[in-house]
């Protein structure tokens, strides 16, 4: 065998090996792709199933909660009704017992009290009449005193006005020489009384 033959043979073997490798890679890729698709489908299926389950659980929980609340409302209303009935009955009974007790007490003492009240009322009436008489007398006396004081006050004011008017009139009417004469007369009088 010559060299060309050997090279050709070697190249053919290499191409065969390369073709086998390529074939193997293509087959493997195809398998992997197929597996991926299967997994995706499975995942979608699981997701769908999961969300349905969650929704179902939530719905169930809401329904249960509504039932619990409704029951609680019914129970509380029953309790309230019962307590109102109880308090109304209790109040009525209590009032009746108080009324009965007080009637009993009043009837037992009414005779004595009636006499005492009549006596007190009589005394009070007399005292009231006396007080009114005293008040009327005092008011009349005060009124008279006030009238007297008011008249005196008025007189004093009138006199003050007359006094001031007279003084001003005299002071203004006098001439300077008359003023001078009165001053000299005052000096003479002061000398007579040993002031000067």
């Amino acid at each position: 065998m010559n060299d060309i033959t050997i090279i050709f043979f070697g190249a053919s073997v290499a191409v065969c090996i390369l073709a086998l490798v390529t074939f193997f890679v293509v087959v493997s890729y195809h398998k992997a792709l197929k597996r991926q698709r299967e997994l995706e489908i499975e995942l979608n299926k699981l997701k769908l199933e999961g969300s349905t389950e969650v929704n179902r659980i939530l719905l169930e929980a809401q329904t249960k909660a509504s039932e619990i609340i409704k029951n609680a409302q019914i129970k509380s209303q029953e309790f309230l009704n019962a307590s109102e009935v109880f308090s109304g009955e209790f109040r009525e009974k209590f009032q009746q017992s108080i009324l009965a007790g007080s009637n009993q007490i009043i009837s037992s003492i009414s005779k004595d009290v009636s006499a005492a009240v009549q006596s007190e009322m009589k005394a009070f009436g007399q005292s009231l009449n006396k007080s009114i008489d005293t008040l009327v007398t005092k008011t009349n006396s005060d009124l008279e005193a006030y009238k007297k004081h008011a008249v005196e006050d008025l007189n004093a004011k009138i006199f003050k006005i007359v006094e001031q008017t007279t003084k001003k009139a005299i002071g203004k009417t006098l001439t300077k020489s008359e003023h001078e004469a009165i001053i000299l007369k005052a000096l003479e009088e002061a000398k007579k009384q040993n002031v000067l």
Binding site: G171, E178, I182, I183, V195
Partner: protein
């Protein structure tokens, strides 16, 4: 020595005015710049008083004369009069003449005005008091008419 000048003073106001004039003269005694005392007499003192002072200080120690005059003026007795009106000069002269003729020579008038006394005078002298106003008279007449 001072009677000639003190007799020109009839009221406390005039006495105070003269004292202030004398004080201004005293402060001018030692001034040589502004013409001394003569210039002060012409500038700060009334003419009537200035002539008396010139005559009084003639041939004397001016400072001593002025000090003596101040003492004399401050020593004048006061007759206090409360009058109903502001007196005129004539009225003051008349009252002062009455005082001279009644031996009250070294006395000056201290006059106040109070219109409430109507007329006359309320007089105070040497601690004594006399009410010669018409105020009391009018009051007594009006009171008797009450």
């Amino acid at each position: 020595m001072y009677s000639e000048i003190t007799q020109t003073v009839k009221t406390a106001d005039e006495r105070d005015l003269m004292l202030s004039e004398i004080e201004s003269l005293k402060s001018a005694l030692f001034e040589t710049k502004n013409g001394g005392i003569e210039n002060a007499l012409r500038a700060n003192v009334r003419a009537s008083v200035a002539s008396f002072l010139r005559k009084g200080m003639e041939g004397k120690n001016a400072s001593g004369y002025l000090d003596g005059l101040i003492r004399e003026l401050k020593g004048l007795e006061e007759l206090k009069l409360i009058l109903a009106i502001e007196p005129t000069e004539n009225m003051i002269d008349t009252i002062y003449s009455w005082m001279i003729s009644n031996s009250l020579g070294n006395v000056i008038l201290n006059i106040e005005v109070d219109k409430r006394i109507i007329a006359g005078a309320q007089i105070s002298f040497r601690g004594k008091y006399f009410d010669g106003s018409l105020s009391d008279l009018v009051d007594s007449v009006l009171t008797s008419k009450k």
